[in-house]
Amino acid sequence: MNEYTLPIFYGVFVGVLARLFMLKTDYRQYPTYLHGKIIHIALGFIAAGLGTIAVPAIMEKEFTAITFLTLAASQFREVRNMERNTLSELDQYELVPRGSTYIEGIAIAFESRNYLVIFTSLFVTLAYLIFGFWMALVMTVVCFIISKVLMSGGTLKDIVDIQYVKPHFDGAGLYVDDIYIMNIGIPEKRELVLKYGMGFILTPKSFDARTTIANIGQRQAILHDVSTALGVNRDAGEPSLVPLAKRDLEDGRVGVFVLPQKHDLDIAIRVISNVPTLENAIRMPTESKANRKGEKKRWF
């Protein structure tokens, strides 16, 4: 035992705890399995170790130790690749795929959570070594709160209004409100679609939101989440029963057509409300300089 033993143990412990806190199995069904969890806890342990060791190393004037953090960076980039590859492979066998945008979002989350673990361990160990145990405890709480804030992104309810509309046919064309979804030829299939189908209209609250929900990956994420939470009336070899989301070109509304097994309107609206706005889909046209009036700087 030396003066660093307890701070190191405490730093690693808090780091692993932070990883466990950020590892949730929810309706997104990932990671579902014990082995998936073990991989992430083990990587969290390594991240915690790296973050913790950096502090005593610097205090001992071993400045080269910082290069280990670059090793960590490449290690965790590998985590992102691993998640992306696994999920992309599995996506081919989903009845309603997640889509690449959603997968990339999940993969980025896994990578960034490991960095959060490194920072948590680093700051907690630093607080322990400089100010003592009680300050480390305070730092732990602060780091957990920051992690919680950083890991929860926005959801769809912040950017759109959701409204239920019963789908209907006009000839062979299927419509949700006035948004055209698809053409279904066989009358029998039309009956099935009307029996099982539910329609929703997403009205964007702002111009930025309009561009975000126009993203095809974002729309696929909505379809995937609804189908995961409420089941889907679909099978391989039944291509006409397919959930789709189409856009109104006039005003940017999106018509979502789904075929849930459980017809529960409240749950469906709640699920759509809680679909994450994918980082890769977020667009902010209003931030563009050309769009900002009155801010023109002319130097000539």
Binding site: A172, M182, N183, I184, I186, E188, A236, G237, P239
Partner: protein, 62 residues
């Protein structure tokens, strides 16, 4: 170029309106047309789209 859609078959009750390309199934009435389209849809993993009252096309969406 990646092929995104392909017309796999045409089912019709009015053969005068169809020529060339995909296999054409000529039917006597609407009922037969529905039944053939339904079978083809299941076999080919495509969707039967109604172009008009007399013509269905079976389209594969990749």
């Amino acid at each position: 170029m990646v092929l995104e859609k392909a017309v796999l078959a045409v089912v019709t009750t009015n053969e005068k309106k169809i020529k060339g390309g995909a296999p054409v199934f000529i039917c006597d009435n609407q009922k037969e047309m529905d039944s053939i389209a339904k079978n083809l849809e299941a076999i080919l993993d495509g969707i039967a789209h109604a172009i008009s009252e007399e013509i269905y096309i079976i389209v594969k969406h990749f």
